[in-house]
Subunit: 201 residues, 2 copies
């Protein structure tokens, strides 16, 4: 039987410590170098506790992603669709090129390619992120900038996909200009008859 | 001193055998499971030969990608921009979902996240692929479907990026409808004022 866990109790504190240690280890050694022993030692927790609760590195990554999904994203709210989407792609670009944050973010993406558990966690993580960012399109519709019915999550995906493509598939640099162009492409599509076709049966 | 290699000679035959074995091992075990010993055994080549010429798994992957880049892509030529791009994204989709070919393709992408050599090889590989596929846009310009000056490789990237995003970042299914919508989005952008801005200084 699973012991009852109270939020803010010992179990929650252990989780925080272990997931913080996971992020720190990912930043230093990447997903391939993620060891249960090092995470336990860094978190000051018994190795057996880490094994029992998270089973393996993919379990740690999945739970770290679940925690990250719960944290809110600072979605831009500038009063204009194009500026909001430019803010969003620039946020993504800096997140993946920041020397502190980017190794962890990249380790998450790599983990998703290597373990089905991590892939499932990434799917949930991005679903949450896209749903959250879709408010940008909902606000644009409310302001009359876009026709009702434009699929917000689809526009968000289109804005970010070219950046992920450069970062993780073609391994090309991503400049502020690339981030801006990707946002502007998504705006063009949101305003086009293409977007009107997205809710077609 | 490096021995002289004649095309079609022993050295070329060894390379073919080793790279075929690399692809087969990648399909079975993925990039993490790629071992120099297994590749050598499968290719019927001395282990020391494989180590001397390819150094490590990342060297094998980089050379397998270099060979793949030399092979031509069956770029669609239907006489219409939208049908050519739909053909291209569908080709990509089936390549990454085919049970035989997709594990190798996915292993290449994963390798790129784990080793700088493989990342550099992927960068060259995709640069070659995008340049090749850009003929679709050049033909559309020649037919008068698009304004001269539209950046072909940029349109190709936009057509394929949403599929890669689903496959390797968000781990969502990619249907024929997704491939079609991604192609149609790229056509909308190619015809828009957004594309006219792509050659701006």
């Amino acid at each position: 039987m699973e012991p009852q866990r109270r939020p803010g109790g010992r179990s929650a504190r252990v989780r925080e410590a272990v997931l913080d240690a996971t992020a720190a280890e990912l930043a230093e050694h990447g997903y391939q170098g993620l060891s249960m022993e090092s995470v336990a030692q860094r978190a000051g927790v018994h190795k057996t506790t880490v094994y029992r609760r998270w089973r393996g590195p993919e379990g740690l990554v999945a739970d770290a992603l679940a925690r990250a999904a719960d944290q809110s994203w600072p979605i831009p709210d500038t009063g204009s669709l194009v500026d909001d989407l430019r803010g969003l792609t620039e946020l993504l670009r800096t997140g993946f090129t920041d020397p502190e944050a980017s190794p962890v973010a990249a380790a998450f993406v790599t983990a998703g390619m290597q373990h089905p558990d991590a892939a499932a966690a990434l799917r949930s993580f991005y679903a949450a992120r896209h749903a959250e960012a879709a408010v940008i399109i909902e606000r644009a519709i409310a302001r009359g900038e876009l026709t009702p019915g434009v699929d917000g999550t689809e526009i968000v995906r289109l804005a970010v996909a070219p950046l992920f493509h450069r970062l993780f598939i073609t391994h090309e640099p991503v400049t502020a200009e690339h981030a801006r162009r990707a946002a502007d492409a998504a705006v063009t599509l949101a305003e086009s008859s293409w977007a009107a076709g997205s809710s077609a049966p």
